[in-house]
C-alpha cells in the first residue's frame, strides 16, 4: 500500500524539484507508537534534530493525562483542563497519524496500522503505556458473563487510564450513600504510578470531609509496603484521622475473587474476597495488575515476561536493534513507571537516535525521576531518584524522599511544586497548554 507521504512526494519529483524531496527522503525515518508522555516528548525532542523525520502514530487525538486525574475525580479539576491536543506537536513539525498500530514486525521495523496500511522505519520507538490485566482477577470474567452488562471495569472502574473511567468513578463517588466505604485495591509491583493509589485515597478522603463526612476510604493492598509510605501514613493521620485505612498483603492475603452482585444483588454492595477476608464496599475502585500492551507482547518484545526488557544505556530493546521501548511498557526498574520517567527516557532515546543518525558517539545515560503526590490539595510530598547504567544494568545512584515530621509549610511548598511540575511537564511533553 502506498502511504500518503509518498503520494505527496510523487508530483514534486515529476516537476524536476528533485533536491527538496530527495533531501527529505534521505532523512532517517523515526516511527513512534503512542503519543503519551513518552512518545510525545520523544517526538518533540527528536524533531529538533537535523537529519530525522518523525511520525507519531496514536488513535487518540486529544490526550488526557493520568497525572492530575485524581483531582478530576474529586472535582478540583475538569477533564478538559488535563486534555492536550496534538497541535503543539504538529506545529513543531511532527507528522501525526491518528490511527492505532495493530502489528509490529520488530526485525523489519515495520508497523501495521488500523487502516491496514504498512510502513517501514529506520528507527522504531514504542511507548504505548500499559494494559490492565484482568486475567489474574478471578471472578472478573464470570461477572462479565453472568450479567452481560459490559466489562467489570464498568462497575468497578480502575480509573487508571484517564477519561471515561475517571468520570465513571467520580460519578460513583458522588452518588455514594452517606457514611459509605470507598474501596481501593492496589495492585502488585510493578505498575503504573506507584504512589497513585495512595494519592487517590488522600484526595478522596479530603473530598469526604466536605461532602460525605462519615465516609471511609479502605485500601486493600497486594503489597506489604509502598512508595513514600511513612509520608502518606503521616499525612493521612494528620489530616484524616482514621478515615483512611490501609490493609497490607500479609494481613489479608492475595486478592482471590471479585464479588459483583450487579443489579440483582439486593444489598447493592460489591466487594472482593482475599485469602483471609471479604470486604464489601459502596464503591470499588479495582486497580488490576498491569502489563505491556498486547501490540508489544504479540511482537515478542516482552520476551514473554509482560514488560519489555531494554538496555539501560539506550533503552534499545533487548530483542530487536534500532527498536526502542520507553515509558510504562519498558522493564526499567528501579525507575518507576511514571510520566516523569517516560518523559526522561524519551530525551535519552532522542539523543541516542540523533547520535546514531549523525555518526556521533552516544551520550552517557543519566536518568532522573521525581514523583510529587498530593496528600491533600495543599499538602504535597515527593520522592526523587537518579539512575545510571552500569554493566548493562540500571542502578539508582541518588535520590530520596521529603523529610517526615516536616512543618506544614514544607508540604504546602511541595503542593505548589506539584502544580508547577504539572504545568511544566505537560508543556515540555505536548508543547503547549491544555
Amino acid at each position: 500500500m502506498i502511504r500518503r507521504r509518498q503520494l505527496l512526494q510523487a508530483p514534486l519529483l515529476l516537476t524536476g524539484m528533485s533536491a527538496m524531496p530527495l533531501l527529505a527522503s534521505s532523512k532517517a525515518r523515526v516511527g513512534i507508537v503512542g503519543g503519551g508522555f513518552g512518545g510525545a516528548t520523544l517526538a518533540r525532542y527528536l524533531v529538533r534534530q537535523a537529519g530525522v523525520s518523525v511520525t507519531l502514530i496514536d488513535p487518540v487525538s486529544a490526550f488526557i493525562t493520568c497525572p492530575f486525574s485524581n483531582l478530576v475525580l474529586t472535582g478540583a479539576k475538569t477533564l478538559s483542563e488535563i486534555t492536550f491536543s496534538r497541535r503543539g506537536l504538529i506545529r513543531d513539525g511532527v507528522e501525526f497519524i491518528p490511527l492505532g498500530v495493530t502489528g509490529i514486525d520488530a526485525a523489519r521495523r515495520e508497523l501495521t496500522l488500523s487502516d491496514g496500511s504498512k510502513d517501514r522505519f529506520d528507527f522504531l520507538v514504542c511507548a504505548p503505556g500499559v494494559e490492565m490485566n484482568y486475567e489474574s482477577v478471578a471472578g472478573a470474567d464470570s461477572a462479565i458473563a453472568s450479567h452481560g452488562s459490559g466489562h467489570i471495569s464498568q462497575r468497578m472502574p480502575h480509573a487508571w487510564k484517564a477519561g471515561d473511567q475517571t468520570q465513571l468513578l467520580a460519578a460513583q463517588l458522588g452518588a455514594m450513600r452517606p457514611g459509605g466505604t470507598f474501596l481501593i485495591t492496589a495492585p502488585p509491583n510493578p505498575f503504573r504510578c506507584p504512589p497513585g493509589p495512595y494519592e487517590r485515597a488522600g484526595l478522596v478522603a479530603e473530598w469526604m470531609t466536605h461532602h460525605n463526612p462519615a465516609g471511609k476510604v479502605l485500601i486493600v493492598d497486594q503489597k506489604d509496603s509502598f512508595t513514600k509510605m511513612p509520608l502518606f501514613l503521616e499525612g493521612w493521620r494528620k489530616r484524616y484521622g482514621d478515615r483512611v485505612e490501609w490493609i497490607g498483603l500479609s494481613q489479608t492475603g492475595e486478592l482471590r475473587e471479585v464479588i459483583d452482585g450487579g443489579k440483582a444483588d439486593k444489598s447493592g454492595k460489591r466487594g472482593i474476597r482475599t485469602d483471609f477476608d471479604e470486604f464489601r464496599a459502596d464503591v470499588v475502585n479495582l486497580i488490576p495488575p498491569q502489563r505491556a500492551p498486547s501490540v508489544l507482547r504479540d511482537a515478542g518484545l516482552d520476551e514473554g515476561r509482560g514488560w519489555c526488557p531494554v538496555h539501560p544505556d539506550s533503552f534499545e530493546s533487548r530483542v530487536a536493534s534500532n527498536v526502542f521501548i520507553i515509558g510504562d511498557a519498558a522493564s526499567a526498574a528501579p525507575m518507576p513507571k511514571s510520566a516523569f520517567s517516560a518523559n526522561n527516557q524519551a530525551k535519552l532515546v532522542a539523543a541516542v537516535i540523533a547520535a546514531r543518525v549523525n555518526g556521533q558517539s552516544a551520550p552517557t545515560a543519566w536518568l532522573v525521576n521525581t514523583c510529587y503526590s498530593l496528600v491533600a490539595s495543599d499538602y504535597g510530598i515527593s520522592v526523587s531518584g537518579t539512575y545510571r547504567a552500569r554493566d548493562d544494568m540500571l542502578i539508582q545512584t541518588g535520590g530520596g524522599q521529603s523529610p517526615t515530621g516536616a512543618d506544614e509549610q514544607v508540604h504546602q511548598l511541595e503542593a505548589t511544586y506539584t502544580h508547577g511540575w504539572y504545568e511544566s511537564i505537560t508543556r515540555d511533553s505536548f508543547g503547549g497548554a491544555a
Binding site: L348, T364, W366, L367, V368, H419, G420, E423, R427
Partner: protein
C-alpha cells in the same frame, strides 16, 4: 588562604575551558532533564542563565543544602558534571 585562592583560580580556569563534544552532549542531556520541571511559568523557579560561576555556586548550595528535591537530584552529580551544567546553562539564552 593562598591555597584557597589558587583553587579558586583553577576553578575559574576550568570554567573558562571549552567543553568537549562529548561533555556538551552529556550536559545537554542533563539540561533537558531540568526542562521537565523548569518549563512552567509558575510554581517552580525558572532556570538561571547568568554567569557560570554564579550558577555553580547556586548548584553547590542546593546540592549541599537542606532536603529538597534539588538537593536529592544533584547529590549524584560530580563536581565536573556540575561545572559542565553551569557552563552550558550560562551559554543558553
Amino acid at each position: 588562604m593562598r591555597g584557597f585562592c589558587l583553587l579558586c583560580l583553577l576553578c575559574l580556569l576550568w570554567l573558562a575551558r571549552p567543553l568537549s563534544a562529548a561533555e556538551t552532549a552529556d550536559s545537554a542531556l542533563i539540561l533537558n532533564s531540568c526542562a521537565t520541571c523548569h518549563s512552567a511559568t509558575a510554581g517552580i523557579p525558572a532556570l538561571p542563565h547568568h554567569q557560570a560561576d554564579a550558577i555553580l555556586t547556586q548548584l553547590h548550595a542546593l546540592r549541599d543544602g537542606e532536603n529538597t528535591v534539588m538537593h536529592r537530584l544533584l547529590a549524584d552529580l560530580s563536581a565536573e558534571e556540575l561545572q559542565a551544567i553551569a557552563r552550558q546553562l550560562a551559554a543558553t539564552p
